[in-house]
Symmetry: C2
Subunit: 381 residues, 2 copies
């Protein structure tokens, strides 16, 4: 059986490194640049698969760490994997659990073998290794699996960044060796913190091992935005042309626009879903907080330019009422809006690249926010 996964670059913007591509997976094709909504525990929080389909969502992210702890692979394997368990037939990328083991688990011991950690749910002891991360992801049956990596903290000195990067490389080799699922792609993760030369060395050595795609890990973990941009600027041109490039855990709409400009194909972030639950909604003119008393009798939709279900059907006043009344419906309607915002942002980005005018589109994107003076303007172009 041939490997099912493939990636093709369809178009490149003439004025920057933005590129249009297509992922082919065992669960359909996915146009890139793409944003993957985060479905940590076998659901994109508050949404069901039909909600996602209606937004033309084609790929979501699942969390190996969470799903391993609950409900566990024994349960999910009975359903033939995560797709069957949660009723989602689009594509799924699973992260390796690396990030969660380092950010969520209670106590840990990092060794060459792997990471010993205590479950954040019940304190039970578990060992995660590069091999185990692959085994779990094979059972989850995701379309794209990630190598188990050490999520390098920030700030970090150069010496530890190298140690951590070297360990991530050794783990990548072990994971690749164990991986055998032909309808599942395996991506390697580039570490090296904010040190561009370490990142480039890591990438080079990962490419030697050979992966279906290459990800940048441990960015947007506290370092100044400029440092993240510098790493992207220096390393992305070194990435293989014919493999997808995934910037993990990033980010704001502005982060995504800049990532695309520099050549990133794939993104994921909890921002749209988490913000929705905090009442922060993304709009074409920046963020608003729906709790704001300015919206008490406001009959207009969250974003007049948005055609999501929430904006077509409900007013700011109603959404505000639901939110301040802590009604469950608030979380779903807000999440629909925010996820739709991100997916539609990606659609506009792909359209701009198709037309070859991404930089022009980007200028307008910032101009609109600038006018409204409500946006975060980290990357004003």
């Amino acid at each position: 059986m041939d490997r099912v996964f493939s990636f093709s670059v369809l178009n490149k913007d003439p004025s920057c490194n933005a590129r249009l591509g297509r992922l082919h997976t065992a669960h359909g094709s996915v146009d890139t640049p793409v944003f993957m909504p985060v479905g940590t525990q076998a659901t994109v929080k508050s949404l069901d698969p039909e909600d996602l389909q209606k937004m033309n969502c084609r790929i979501i992210l699942g969390n190996t760490y969470h799903l391993y702890l609950r409900p566990g692979t024994e349960v999910i394997s009975r359903f033939g994997g995560l797709h069957g368990f949660m009723g989602w037939d689009g594509a799924i990328l699973t992260d390796s659990g690396g990030f969660q083991v380092f950010s969520l688990a209670k106590i840990r011991e990092i060794s060459e073998e792997g990471v010993l950690f205590h479950s954040h749910i019940d304190g039970s002891r578990h060992m995660m290794t590069p091999e185990k991360a692959i085994e779990i992801q094979e059972i989850l049956g995701s379309d794209i699996a990630m190598s188990f990596d050490e999520c390098t903290p920030y700030p970090v000195d150069r010496e530890y960044a190298r140690l951590s990067m070297e360990r991530t490389l050794r783990w990548a080799i072990r994971g690749k060796k164990r991986h055998g699922k032909v309808d599942q792609a395996l991506f390697g993760i580039v570490q090296g913190s904010v040190f561009a030369d370490l990142r480039m060395e890591c990438l080079e050595r990962l490419v030697e091992i050979g992966f279906d795609g290459y990800a940048l890990g441990s960015l947007s973990v506290g370092e100044p935005k400029e440092m993240m941009l510098e790493v992207l600027e220096k390393t992305l041109p070194q990435f293989p042309e014919d493999a997808p490039r995934y910037l993990m855990g990033v980010g704001t709409p502005e982060d995504i626009v800049e990532g695309v400009r520099l050549g990133v194909d794939m993104f994921d972030c909890v921002l749209p879903t988490r913000n929705a639950r905090n009442g922060t909604l993304f709009t074409s003119f920046g963020r608003i907080n729906i709790k704001n008393s300015a919206y008490v009798v406001d009959g207009s939709p969250v974003d007049p330019e948005c055609d999501c279900y929430t904006c077509r059907k409900f007013s700011r006043a109603y959404l505000r009422h639901l939110y301040v009344s802590r009604e469950l419906l608030a979380y779903r309607l807000n999440t629909i809006h925010n996820v739709h915002y991100y997916l539609s942002l990606m659609e506009k980005i792909r359209e701009a690249i198709t037309k070859g005018n991404f930089m022009e589109w980007r200028k307008e994107f910032y101009a609109k926010r600038w006018e409204q003076n409500e946006a975060e303007l980290h990357f004003r172009g």
Copy 2:
């Protein structure tokens, strides 16, 4: 302009007092016996109007007390009423706030004028009177408004029950006098606690005043089930034939089956929605709790006989996982199932009455639960 509201009895079961009817309202017609899902704060908790439409829900209940306190009539009036505010174009019945003032509000003083209470949200002081309850409901624009009543507590002595019933009657007269909205029906509420003669006297005097429908209040408030049934058995035959009969705040599926048998046309209860949020799901063979570890790897739907969205798409194992993981989606999927269960129960009841074999259907209804030994069997026939 003629009054928009009307009610017609379409069929009567030959072997009991069950009857098939139809309410005609400004927002469509509603077949009875009907169950009205409770939408306390301008949403049936966790559901949106489309979810309800998909279940063929034609009427919901809104709470005057809650909506008056939040978001307030000033906000809702800007949207032309509750229908416009929440985006629901089916029928709405609003209760008068009587029950909530007596059960939720913090401190109160009952006088002939009305009830002085403190908001359960912010402690602010408010006076609710029979006139004000009508004014608010006219602004809410519900299709059916309820008279403001004193919700008689249980247990209560006969003397207080009479005092309370007399006050409710005087309040009913004041409310009726104030009511002027021609496309809104006004129902009177029969009080008198568990004393059937007081109930009958109250009913008689309400009928003299003249209302579009008659409700039984303060039942299922702690009295033994047998007492509730006795009140229903004695009083329902005295209700006007040509007006709808509404048993407020009741109840379990068994309560509803018995209410229908005795001649009730309308029901409402928080049970399906509240239970959903506690993980208790109604099925054709009784209640189950989805948290139960028996469902960890159970691939079957909640109820194999149910065709709701949740049962068509998701397994018990997945619903259990969502519930124990406290995922927001759990509440929505559980609520869809439970509300669908109640609405489909009413559909089966109407079908049985249409065929004139309600008592036979009822026997099967209990037999099934009896066999499974999981149901509450208060009313085993």
